[in-house]
Symmetry: C2
């Protein structure tokens, strides 16, 4: 934390003499400080709960379909709901960060490089129901979100200019979401983002050295150790990573090795839906309905399957502000050891 004096109530902790610890993320090589001397319980985090009020006009609600651009994908569960026949819609973002039109044009300007923003920016309207969060939806509905992510990647990757597809969800205002109605986002880019590339490079280095996938090794070690495990099914492990950057950061990793999310199998889709819902429900309970970011980490879409990379989901509840310390340096201070976070979520 970058708060030098976080409050008198923790003066007692000051004298216990725990030693802070530096941990290295085995994939990116990023060091994180785990300040075990001021381990925090969920109740120590000041934050705003995300409460859905449903008060105002919503462009994502049934009946307002004309307020969004035409769908690029829609699922339907015919007649299950009165005035609505769709159960999920994917529409282009009305204010896109990127546009599909135009040719990819790279230019120099002195020592600088620029490129026009060719790409796609879409919104997944996860359900006709304005009020239900992902944690509260039926499993069937969560599975539809996963199918929609997959179907859109399969479609977008046909455009050979697009090299990376980001699949993510911001839940709650603190996580950057400005609309209540449950929705996720898809951004397809003509470049591989630096963080994604770093993760890919780190995983490749490990593979070159050990001839094993680092994520497969993590799965084995976490299952054996158990102390950072949140939930385990046949298909997935939910775990708080060893070098967690944030309190209650949770990764969901498939046991079956695959570098590309879009190769997800039917059984895995339903298993992941259950897993996602369960983890988010646990977070809602332990952290009182926190805002969160959920991101699918996957390999660049135009590349063949990698032995060294392994797709997975990262969920980061927004509990503490990320301050200058982290910004300037990429160095994170996490006040809650992941072993503690996992224990709170497990119990």
């Amino acid at each position: 934390m970058s708060m030098p004096w976080a409050g008198g109530c923790r003066f007692d902790l000051y004298n216990r003499g725990f030693m802070p610890e530096l941990r290295k993320d085995p994939i990116t090589g990023r060091w994180v400080i785990i300040s075990t001397d001021r381990a925090r319980r969920p109740s120590d985090f000041k934050q705003e709960s995300v409460l859905v009020t449903g008060a105002r006009f919503c462009p994502f609600c049934p009946g307002n379909e004309d307020k969004t651009p035409p769908e690029v994908l829609a699922y339907s569960t015919e007649g299950l709901r009165g005035n609505s026949r769709w159960s999920l819609r994917v529409v282009p973002n009305k204010f896109p960060a990127l546009r599909v039109e135009g040719d990819l044009d790279r230019q120099g300007e002195g020592l600088y490089d620029r490129m026009n923003g060719v790409g796609a920016h879409e919104v997944v309207i996860e359900s006709p129901d304005h009020m239900k969060t992902l944690a509260e939806m039926e499993e069937r509905q969560v599975a539809e979100l996963i199918w929609a992510f997959r179907d859109r990647v399969v479609d977008l990757k046909k455009d050979r200019r697009l090299r990376y597809v980001m699949l993510f969800k911001n839940h709650g205002e603190a996580a950057g979401s400005s609309l209540e109605h449950p929705h996720s986002q898809i951004i397809a880019l003509p470049v591989v983002p630096k963080r994604a590339q770093e993760e890919l490079d780190g995983a490749r280095k490990y593979f070159d050295f050990k001839e094993r996938c680092v994520y497969c090794d993590i799965l084995r070690q976490e299952v054996r150790d158990g102390e950072r495990v949140v939930l385990q099914t046949e298909e997935f492990l939910a775990t708080c990573p060893f070098a967690s950057r944030f309190p209650f950061e949770t990764w969901i990793i498939p046991f079956r090795h695959d570098s590309h999310f879009e190769n997800i199998q039917e059984r895995e889709v339903y298993n992941l839906a259950w897993m996602l819902k369960s983890v988010l429900k646990k977070m809602d309970r332990v952290l009182e309905r926190p805002a969160y970011n959920l991101i699918i980490h996957t390999a660049p879409v135009q590349e063949p399957g990698y032995s060294h990379y392994h797709w997975h989901v990262e969920i980061i509840p927004k509990l503490t502000r990320v301050a200058g310390f982290e910004w300037g340096t990429g160095f994170f201070i996490n006040p809650t050891p992941p072993e503690e976070s996992a224990r709170f979520l497990r119990d």
Copy 2:
């Protein structure tokens, strides 16, 4: 922005057909989206102004010196102020993220690496005056902060275990500061943080290719172009970088090449004090007293002078939330082109 529907008031912008643009940071290789089609004026940012109220008990105010650990450095302007003889104090953080005690101990645990948190975490109390922000202080006082940063680095680098010293300031709650009284922070680490290493590596690659420092090249190009310049003095250039991650992000770069901040010369200290104060005053005026992070980027302290790296200051006003899009991917979407930001700050 990760807000798919940011409000009906910008529907008119939607049809103008500006093209978003991807820009590459020449140092780190990071791509940034500059969404020029929704260029934002300062008044478009919702944010909280940082107003100093001075209401509660403050451990940094004169008379409460016993509420902080003993000083590691203090400056004095004898008797200038009634009941206080110090003008600046540096004290160890009462809840440090790192501790100086103990040997550096690296350990493996299966595939993971950990190290005990040896290091230093100090607080610079910039002034006895609770109410004056850095933008409002006398230049002399701002210069003392720069001297204190320098003096502490010179002292800390004697400990050969410490490889990197982070010098930064979080101003306002939105930037992660929990105390009003003007203060900065110093963190000395036994490792080089990943972001710092990336910047160093990127700068080295450029140097290997061109045999010129990338920052020196940036200085030349920015002075020639002029459109991203905020302020220019004999010693420093303040500029909004080409691939700005954030609206109104501003870098202050010394014209004299040096990789290590602690080699700053007396003339430069006073020039930088004026520059810092001026830039922060401009931000206060244009952005209505924003929260901000200020970070000194410098080379690892145990290393000799680098031809390829160039210390500088980065100031990032906290105007928009960084949401899942940026988190998961290290990919930034900046709604305000740096040319616009520079123009607003300049005028």
